[in-house]
Amino acid sequence: MTPLSRRQMAWRAAQDLAEGQYVNLGIGLPTMVCDFVPPGREVVFHAENGILGMGPAPEPGKGDKDLINAGKGLTTLLPGGTFFHHNDAFLMIRGGHIDVSIMGAYEVSERGDLANWATGSDKLAPGVGGAMDLAAGAREVWALMEHNAKDGAPRIRKSCVLPLTAGGCVKRVYTNLAVLDITRDGVVVREMIDGLDLAGLQRLTEPKLVLANDWKKLEVPAL
């Protein structure tokens, strides 16, 4: 059993974006999703600092210092892309104009509660960024995260231990082991990596899992 690499996790989430969707990518791992949309499929990426139509990262040494994404990395603008001010960027988010928000997460509960802003640490200042606005405003929120914390603790929880970003907002979770839907009937396993079975995944997950009738192997290319 080989868990997905971070690039493979980003690849897997990218496959589910549909043509014409407006998509906001959170900082960190989700930012990579941009690089793995199938060729020819037009997806419009939104950055909360005021960009629609972000393209891939520029070639090394070729970027424009004033053209950065929400993670402060250099990016590019596709034909059809636009710049606007920050207030309009969040108007789009809060107003339900963003089809999908893909965010990293510390924890997701079986009700879709999201915890991704405060670690509870008193050593480093907490920061929320746009996570609460995205969680409240995007039409769908997908979480993209390692299935377990470094110490093995489950990150899919009955209830979140960490402070909430928003309650009941996550619809789908992509991890390095599985693809799971948060539904009224519980946490449904859609895909699992080769070599893992439901019992094995359940041991790594706090709430009771339900295996979808049409579940599939989670298959990704070498990246």
């Binding site: 600092n49 402060k72 920050h86 809060r94 405003g137």
Partner: protein
């Protein structure tokens, strides 16, 4: 003749006082008026409340101002951006009051101040720790929190080009918080790269009309 150009930072910052709220544009370090913000350090003002999306990067701009101990409080959404050495040190010492605000709410609170809105309801953060002590209300089945306008005594922003009326255009993603802070500042000072002839900016493409700008300084 209307001429909002000023020479030098002393003129640009004239009237800044102890206890003032200063809105500082930029996202990460892009679009931040480093030199203008750092010029505060040379003035005898203290106890500022700084409003900025982040807490500065490295040792420049907002980070330099905070390091110099001129702020009593920081209102921001995401203090730990690129190279957060200054905020990390201040936070460890609890030497700075910190108010964390969801990024969209931060922006919207400043817009409300600039737009004459007395308060607004948003779902963002309504069911979280950040709504503690705030009025909440269920609207159409969803919990909302009432958020307050956030005006600045000064807004220190950065733009690409200006004219003598204070009309501003920005470059790409360097626009970010600057237009909304321009709206919310009682005194708005724009640091720009270039001043052009009145009438040479495209009237359809001016991102900040001069009505929001009081002073322009070329850096």
């Amino acid at each position: 003749m209307i001429d909002k150009r000023v020479e030098g930072f002393a003129a640009a910052l004239a009237g800044l006082r102890d206890g003032d709220t200063v809105l500082c544009g930029g996202f990460g370090s892009i679009g931040e008026a480093f030199e203008l913000i750092e010029a505060i350090i040379g003035l005898d003002v203290r106890d500022l409340t700084v409003v900025c999306n982040n807490a500065g990067s490295g040792l420049v701009g907002v980070a330099a101002l905070l390091k110099a101990g001129r702020a009593r409080k920081l209102i921001c959404s995401y203090p730990r951006s690129t190279d957060p050495q200054v905020i990390d040190e201040l936070y460890a010492r609890r030497a700075l009051e910190l108010e964390i605000v969801p990024q969209g709410t931060l922006s919207e609170r400043m817009r409300a101040a600039g737009a004459g809105i007395g308060g607004f309801f948003t779902r963002a953060g309504a069911d979280t720790d950040l709504a503690q002590g705030k009025e909440t209300r269920t609207i159409n089945g969803a919990l909302h929190v009432l958020e307050q306008p956030l005006p600045g005594d000064f807004a220190l922003i950065r733009a690409h080009r200006a004219d003598r009326w204070g009309n501003l255009v920005y470059r790409k993603a360097a626009r970010n918080f600057n237009p909304v802070m321009a709206m919310a500042g009682k005194v708005t000072v724009a640091q720009v790269s270039e001043i052009v002839e009145l009438g040479s900016l495209d009237p359809e493409a001016i991102a900040t009309p001069g009505i929001f700008v009081d002073r322009v300084v070329v850096v």
